[in-house]
């Protein structure tokens, strides 16, 4: 039994069979073979090596023929690595003497050489890993783990999950996951929360200690993972799961009750979604609408750029499922590396500060127009609003609105139906917007404070960098003041304002945010019941007192402690 600690990024408790992926994303089903299987397995290994050699020779010949000898040379080199007698002897020996399966032997031997090559910074490390991929693919008879093919309930254990991996997880079978790296802002984390399966990331290395088939327990509330739990640990997990289930049932009863404070103020609770399929969760939790539809997930894992119909299909599904309740669609919020057909940005050293989101949209206008057309068409079907991410300057906003205006003209000419008065808003996540907020409120129909990135940019902290992630703090006094300034400005016009970062889903901050004047929260649907409970337990007067005091404190630590203390008075058994 081995216990691991990591960052909890999606709540839930799960116990089940592990599916372990090696660093390249292959799952090695079996590590050891029975002695009598050795001859057959050696033969399988030889066959795989011959097959891959043939494959490489074919590629080499094709390259030589089509492009010239220097291109074929790379495959010639791969062939030489594969034919290296040292490599072959190592592989055979592991199978013959240590009874490793061929796949496991390949994994181990390549790891060892990879370390040596890494030490001398060999440019050919990638070549070695490429050969490993080919060998494993041939031995396993399939490409790297295809998540959509998993057919039984498993807990996925991996080094990392790319956004496309995570996006293709089937929640019917994947009951949770654990990764060695990753942080709370990662896409894997967002997707786990969207699928409502427990996930723990950033545990550090552990894959060497577990095999597919082992029993694993995940606690996504506290960030605890237990490999091969003993009877006692299993019992504890079962207890925890039962406690959570009964609590969920309790909160279930709140579903049809409104989020109203005891002194009669109605709070609107919206849901954040990534996929149309999640709308059902929002409906089930009684959400007042969709406060944030993250559209970049249409691009992640796609083979080609989604066209206008792909966008429209997804948006109309969401709008129709929400049956008249507002749906706020945010335009593409990622970098070029996530879009299949765009050129990769040149070695972006600071992707957070780079060509992404609205900047990317304004650079690749045809792509932006495709998305805007679909959003406008969907606006004919219900209460749709459009929101631009990462706006930092007034010219940027005006440019985006100008393009939107052009697209509207096109649609009008084509006789296609849309809402001429489509509300246009922006995410408040770049500090410059807060500084200039009095100007921005004149040019938008609504605002949404994106604290996830606002905190990053304000405190200059990369929330995915484990060395500094402790500096990233929702409670930071500077951040609170920025929120206060923004909400006050919004009240002056007035402009509807919501908060859609992780902070809004955390009961610790509800009183503070209500006290600052916020009346709209957009949260992952699973958080709606808990936030609703807090809203129904505190008066605005109480919240305003809490906010006033919190804003006098100087450290994030003091703020958090104070807020938790206050919340406990009104909701003694709150869970965060």
């Amino acid at each position: 039994m081995r216990e691991l600690r990591g960052i909890p990024v999606s709540p839930g408790v799960a116990v089940g069979e592990a599916l372990v992926l090696n660093v390249e994303g292959f799952s090695i089903p079996r590590r050891v073979i029975p002695p009598e299987a050795v001859p057959a397995e050696l033969e399988r290994l030889e066959r795989a090596m011959v097959e891959v050699s043939d494959e490489l020779a074919r590629h080499r010949d094709a390259m030589n023929r089509d492009l010239g000898p220097k291109y074929g040379a790379i495959f010639e080199a791969h062939l030489m690595i594969l034919q290296d007698s040292g490599l072959r002897n190592d592989l055979r020996e592991l199978v013959r003497q240590k009874f490793y399966s061929p796949e496991y032997a390949v994994d181990r031997v390549v790891r060892r050489y990879a370390e040596l090559l890494h030490k001398v910074r060999s440019r050919n490390l990638a070549d070695l890993l490429d050969i490993e991929k080919r060998l494993l693919r041939t031995l396993l008879g399939r490409p790297r783990e295809d998540f959509s093919q998993i057919g039984r309930p498993v807990l996925v254990l991996a080094h990392n999950l790319t956004p496309s991996d995570a996006a293709s997880l089937n929640p019917d079978f994947v009951k949770g996951f654990v990764t060695e790296v990753g942080g709370p802002g990662s896409h894997a984390a967002i997707i786990a929360a969207a699928l409502e399966i427990p996930a723990v990331v950033g545990t550090g290395p552990y894959l060497g200690e577990v095999t597919s088939g082992d029993t694993v327990a995940i606690d996504g509330y506290r960030g605890i993972v237990v490999l091969r739990p003993d009877a006692q640990a299993l019992a504890r997990f079962e207890q925890e799961a039962a406690k959570r289930r009964s609590r969920a049932a309790q909160l279930e009863s709140l579903r049809d009750l409104p989020a109203v404070t005891p002194d009669g103020t109605r709070i609107q609770l919206f849901g954040n979604i990534e996929f149309p399929e999640e709308v059902q969760h929002c409906v089930d939790r009684g959400a007042d609408g969709i406060g944030l539809y993250r559209t970049e997930f249409l691009y992640l894992g796609a083979q080609r750029e989604p066209d206008e119909e792909d966008h429209f299909r997804a948006y109309s599904k969401v709008v129709q499922s929400m049956a008249g309740k507002p749906v706020t669609i945010r335009t593409f919020d990622l970098g070029a590396d996530k879009v299949p057909h765009l050129p990769d940005p040149e070695e972006e050293r600071n992707p957070c500060l780079g060509l992404r989101s609205i900047r990317l949209s304004l650079r690749y206008v045809p792509m932006f127009r495709r998305q805007l057309r679909a959003i406008l068409r969907a606006s004919a079907l219900g209460d749709v609003r459009v929101m631009f991410p990462l706006v930092a300057t007034l010219p940027e906003l005006r440019h985006a609105k100008m393009i939107l205006g052009e697209v509207m003209e096109d649609l009008a000419e084509e006789g296609i139906d849309f809402n001429r008065r489509l509300p246009v808003g922006i995410m408040v996540e770049v500090p410059s917007v807060v500084v200039m907020i009095d100007r921005f409120i004149q040019e938008v129909d609504f605002l949404s404070i994106g604290t996830n990135d606002l905190i990053q940019y304000t405190l200059a902290v990369d929330r995915n960098n484990k060395d500094v992630v402790s500096l990233y703090n929702d409670s930071d006094p500077a951040v609170l003041k920025l929120i206060e300034k923004t909400v006050q400005a919004a009240e002056r016009r007035p402009v509807p304002i919501s908060l859609c970062g992780r902070m809004s889903a955390s009961p610790t901050y509800t009183m503070l945010l209500l006290g600052l004047g916020l009346r709209q929260f957009s949260v992952p649907p699973s958080a709606i019941p808990e936030i609703k409970r807090v809203c129904r337990s505190v008066t605005i007067a109480q919240c305003e007192a809490v906010a006033r005091r919190a804003l006098t404190l100087e450290t994030a630590r003091d703020v958090t402690r104070y807020l938790r203390g206050e919340l406990r008075k009104y909701v003694p058994d709150f869970v965060d």
Binding site: K70, A73, A77, D84, K119, V120, S122, D127, L128
Partner: protein, 98 residues
């Protein structure tokens, strides 16, 4: 088998260093000889017939190695390999990107 030994000092002359292309030429040539051949850098010894072992040596431009061969054709072996080093593995003709 006679225990003839031969050694030669060589330098990595080509500006791309000892990456996989020169290494595969080296290994291919070395395999044509019967002698046991090693490329030595300080304490590290690599079998000249093994691409992977040679890759693990690194090999920046200007670096010096010692060629050590043992066996019948030891002298011929180090002669041939030294020539290959001196010619910079024909890298300039190849001008390969990697």
């Amino acid at each position: 088998m006679s225990e003839a030994k031969a050694t030669r000092r060589v330098t990595v002359a080509n500006h791309t260093g000892l990456h996989i292309r020169p290494i595969s030429l080296l290994a291919k040539l070395a395999s044509q000889f019967r002698a046991r051949i090693e490329v030595v850098k300080d304490r590290q010894r690599a079998n000249a017939k093994s691409v992977l072992e040679l890759l693990s040596l690194g090999g920046q431009p200007g670096e010096e190695f010692l060629l050590e061969a043992e066996g019948e054709d030891a002298e011929a072996a180090v002669e041939a390999l030294a020539r290959l080093f001196a010619q910079g593995f024909h890298e300039d003709e190849a001008q390969t990107a990697h």
